[in-house]
Point group: C2
Chain length 263, copies 2
């Protein structure tokens, strides 16, 4: 008597590697990486991912997300155990959206692939933790890149978020192709927020070249920011707590329009 084992459906994992420190990669992400035959992603993330010895690493350049996504889906359909990797969380300006965009406009067969997104510690959460608790109230997360949206939309969103009292986290604040963009963003924000609002530049958090700079909005200098920096702009309820030694803590009070706790 012969028994037929049904073939397992093709699957694809999209994995967030966390901000950079190895002890911030979840066990769930590690397990997905360990069973991969192929890793696909932006070069530095593919290089960083810990996987089996026989894994094929497909490192590609930045800005080719859709091509990369289609390649991953083709390999998955061909039976490979593919893991698409992103830094931080793949759902926050990472590869997850590109993969579903590729599926949405791709062949019907791709919809049969069992796509599993494995969340990670995003850069904004790691930066906030390093600084104190700047996200204590409502907050928004934006990409400052105008590759995929008009600059006018970026400015309108900054204005709306600041006026409404959100703390603002900015990804992709600056690149060689767009050196003036962050200065423009600060101009937009200075028209809405007091100059005393705290601004933090959190660079490469969790990696050996980590660096934190604290400013107020009036004095924040875009020249100190590169593409690896997460920029956090506080709201009127965001404060610095000075300390006798060490970096001040940055936090946002959870209360709005109520007297602070008298304790």
């Amino acid at each position: 008597m012969t028994q037929t084992i049904p073939p397992s459906p093709p699957c694809l994992f999209i994995v967030g590697l966390g901000p950079g420190a190895p002890d911030q990669v979840t066990p769930q992400a590690r397990a997905a990486l360990a069973q991969a035959t192929d890793l696909i992603g932006y070069g530095p993330y593919v290089a960083r991912a810990v996987a089996g010895p026989d894994v094929v690493r497909h490192a590609t350049d930045n800005r080719v997300e859709l091509e990369r996504a289609r390649h991953a889906l083709e390999l998955a359909l061909a039976g490979r155990r593919v893991v698409v990797v992103s830094g931080g969380d793949a759902g926050v300006f990472g590869m997850a959206s590109a993969v579903f965009e590729a599926i949405d406009h791709g062949p019907e067969a791709w919809r049969d692939i069992d796509v599993q997104v494995i969340p990670g510690v995003s850069a904004v959460l790691a930066a906030a933790a390093r600084l104190g608790a700047p996200l204590g109230g409502d907050f928004c997360v934006m990409s400052l890149s105008d590759n995929l949206k008009p600059r006018a939309v970026v400015h309108e969103r900054l204005r709306a978020a600041a006026q409404a009292g959100f703390v603002i986290a900015l990804y992709n604040p600056r690149s060689k192709a767009r050196p003036g963009q962050l200065a423009e963003a600060f101009e937009v924000l200075r028209a809405v927020l007091p100059g005393t609002v705290p601004v933090a530049f959190a660079r490469a958090i969790g990696r050996p070249d980590e660096r934190v700079i604290l400013h107020d909005l009036a004095h924040a200098d875009p020249e100190q920011v590169d593409m690896s920096t997460l920029v956090l702009i506080g709201c009127e309820r965001t404060h610095l707590i000075p300390r006798p030694q060490g970096q001040p803590w940055l936090y946002t009070s959870r209360r709005v329009d109520l007297p602070v706790d008298p304790a």
Copy 2:
């Protein structure tokens, strides 16, 4: 010859336990928990945390964040190795802000405590990963609770975020004390957004009683939501991808005001 070992400074860890699945707790969080003498937090999180056999678990009720924070700081100053625990990420409507608020208004000696915040996978990231990639564009994260901010501020923020094109994630969408709040929020949003915008209810993601419900804004029913549910409201670029089998994927295109990729 005697040698004096300087006493180590008092320290306090604030740890995000992730959404609930054990394999979504980072190794960094596990290490902090393993060395704790005392765990402090809301009952269910203190119960869930994996720690050493002799650890003292101080489980407290909800809504006593500041008292809990002060207790933790007092124990830390007395030399205990205290870990304050939150679900998800402690910086996102968790205990981190309460601890720094307590320090800000507390005795000077608390500023000498080495406070370390250890980030976790927040509920919004876990929910987004489970759904597909709904956070593919700019997004904001809000608490719908009006314990700490006036309801008018909540509504103004909802309106501003929706008008500006942010995807919106809502924490604390509903409680017994505030049963009508989510219905009000949907009314505010329906005045701004098309009724066709997707809405997702993601309950207890990563836990055994996980449940996902997909709607459009016109038909979203607040009665299906409880305090363990993360509510996600899409923007005009958020789509469902139907599948031959299984739950449709939800994703937000990364592009704004540009034609979609023709592939």
